[in-house]
């Protein structure tokens, strides 16, 4: 059903990554769980797509499918025209340089036994970029860019606060200069004031670096702020998808309306 890709309004740009009717079924003791069902979604070059949904809606699984971190049960994911399922492991790892991920729990996603700067250098080292000194310089610059004083680079992740850890994680994700940045609930474990810092940082970096972004969150306001186009997920399916303004102003699907209706305004 490629028509939906063509028809969606944001598809003026060439799609960088596209999921075609992907499904993911997990086997468990209770039986099969259909985490993602028949979802098609694409992200154009330079575009930010938001995915919103409540817990258990399958949005995180979708992100992992798009990243090729988990194989699809059915359907296929294409990154820059290549079907991820057919790319051999070695080439897939090379391809991974072009797509990076920021996770919900920054402390959990940083290597606890590496210092901050070593964490940022690690992807460069893995892909054999530069020399040790050049990697170090690059890592220091990245830390500076995300607002961490490089003088603190020798400290370990546990010595930073949650917001700073997320900054380090972002620096690491950007080290390989990826085309696609997938953010899985990057601010939901953070306090309100820190969340704002990270959102501002992400917005700024996205513009500066011309990144394509997949932004996953349960917080509609956060998605509204960052995304060009939004997909609403419920029980493994995308129930509605559209340009951000249209979707938030004139939601069509009852579930979207219910979701929007439940949000509590702060100032209005």
């Amino acid at each position: 059903m490629t028509t939906s890709d063509v028809d969606s309004p944001g598809s003026a740009a060439r799609p960088l990554v596209a999921a075609h009717e992907v499904s993911k079924v997990f086997g468990s003791r209770a039986g099969e769980v259909r985490a993602v069902e028949n979802v098609s979604l694409h992200i154009g070059v330079g575009e930010t797509v938001g995915v919103v949904g409540e817990s258990g809606s399958g949005k995180s699984t979708l992100a992992r499918l798009l990243m090729g971190l988990q194989p699809c049960t059915s359907g296929r994911v294409e990154f820059d025209g290549q079907d991820l399922a057919t790319v051999p492991g070695k080439e897939l790892r090379v391809l991974r340089q072009r797509m990076q991920m920021v996770f919900q729990n920054p402390f959990g996603s940083l290597l606890p036994h590496y210092s901050a700067v070593a964490n940022v250098m690690e992807p460069l080292r893995l892909h054999g970029r530069g020399t040790k000194t050049s990697r170090r310089e690059q890592a220091d610059a990245l830390l500076e860019m995300v607002g961490i004083h490089p003088g603190f680079g020798e400290l370990y992740p546990s010595q930073f606060s949650g917001g700073q850890q997320q900054r380090i994680a972002i620096a690491r994700a950007l080290a390989l200069e990826p085309d696609l940045l997938v953010c899985d609930e990057p601010t939901s474990s953070l306090d309100v004031s820190i969340q704002a810092q990270i959102l501002a940082l992400l917005g700024e970096l996205r513009q500066k670096l011309g990144l394509s972004c997949l932004f996953i969150s349960h917080n509609l306001a956060v998605v509204e702020r960052l995304a060009d186009r939004v997909a609403v997920m419920s029980q493994g399916r995308i129930v509605e998808e559209g340009p951000t303004e249209r979707l938030f102003e004139a939601p069509e699907h009852p579930y979207t309306r219910q979701l929007l209706g439940a949000v509590l305004p702060v100032t209005m």
């Binding site: 990243m67 971190l69 492991g89 070695k90 790892r93 090379v94 391809l95 991974r96 340089q97 797509m99 990076q100 991920m101 996770f103 919900q104 729990n105 959990g108 996603s109 940083l110 290597l111 606890p112 036994h113 210092s115 690690e122 992807p123 893995l126 892909h127 004083h149 003088g151 603190f152 020798e154 400290l155 370990y156 546990s158 010595q159 930073f160 606060s161 700073q164 994680a169 690491r172 390989l176």
Partner: protein, 314 residues
């Protein structure tokens, strides 16, 4: 929730002050890098009993190594003029046994036997456990199925019994004891490694590493292994006293090293036979034996608390 967060923050690792130092303060010099190892060592150092025990263990190892030079007599030398002599007898600080052999010397050589067997067995067990446990935990598949099936059997096959059977098969030599105790012990440790690896595998940083484009072996060796070493060190430090006890236990059953080479278990067994006439025969080896076990166990306790500060001690 943040009551708990606050309370735990205070309790735990000194994380909060560090975070503050790295965050608010502009003084770079104030913040000291403290990785997981550094932290564990700092915590270990604060535990005085563990530190003293560590020194004690060092002394025991040196003494065991130097037994031939330190011991006043050879362990098999018999002094027929002083059979069952009490402690403090002429030339025999801790007395002699029924054959007139010097108890102090035999105890020291017994220590030597015990430590050689214990370290040897643990090394063997650890090697097997690491290889199989890591493979089973990380790769799953055959290695895992095999390990689990094997452990199921070994669960019903108590390690002591297994060791007894092994010694019955291999004969009574130091090598046989090392193999018997090592083989009997590795399964439990392999399971622990596997459990540890499985839990680390669930951690987000492993997924993050995959997302960075790291290959399987890189993840296993560079990211999982280093973080599994701490808990493994805890297990190992408890396994050493257990192996010491196993060596003596086999000696007690008459399955230890070939006499007259002394083993603490054999000495205890003989001691109970001459209990009423010569209690020192039992007392001396039992006390040194207990001391050695406690020293190693306290080091283990310290290591555990160092790596798991939220453990039951606090």
């Amino acid at each position: 929730m943040d009551v708990i967060a606050a309370a735990e923050g205070l309790h735990s690792t000194g994380l909060e002050p560090d975070a503050g130092a790295a965050g608010a303060g502009e003084t770079v010099a104030r913040a000291r890098a403290r990785g997981p190892w550094r932290k564990a060592w700092d915590r270990f150092k604060r535990n005085r009993l563990a530190l003293i025990s560590l020194v004690m263990c060092g002394v025991l190892v040196v003494v065991a190594f130097a037994a031939p030079w330190i011991a006043p007599h050879h362990y098999a030398d018999t002094d027929y003029e002083a059979l069952l002599a009490g402690a403090g007898a002429d030339g025999h600080l801790l007395g002699t046994d029924q054959l007139g052999r010097d108890i102090l010397s035999r105890t020291l050589y017994g220590l030597r036997t015990a430590l050689i067997v214990a370290f040897g067995a643990e090394l063997l067990a650890l090697l097997c456990a690491l290889v199989v446990g890591l493979a089973a935990g990380y790769r799953g598949g055959r290695a895992e199925q095999g390990l689990m099936a094997f452990t199921d059997v070994m669960y019903a096959f108590p390690s002591y019994l297994f060791a007894i059977v092994m010694v019955a098969v291999l004969g009574r030599s130091i090598f046989a004891l090392i193999v018997a105790i090592g083989i009997a012990g590795w399964v439990t440790q392999a399971r622990l490694v596997r459990a540890q690896v499985l839990s680390i595998k669930q951690r987000e940083y492993v997924e993050a590493a995959r997302a960075m484009g790291a290959s399987g072996p890189t993840i296993a060796v560079r990211y999982i292994l280093p973080n599994a070493i701490g808990p493994m060190l805890v297990t190992t430090s408890f396994a050493i006293p257990a192996a010491i006890a196993a060596e003596a236990g086999l000696g007690l059953l008459g399955l230890g090293v070939q006499p007259p080479t002394p083993s603490w278990g054999g000495m205890i067994s003989e001691g109970t036979r001459y209990l009423l006439s010569a209690p020192h025969m039992l007392l001396a080896p039992a006390c040194v034996f207990a001391l050695a076990l406690l020293a190693f166990t306290w080091v283990g306790d310290g290591v555990r608390d160092a790596f798991d500060p939220r453990g039951d001690r606090r």
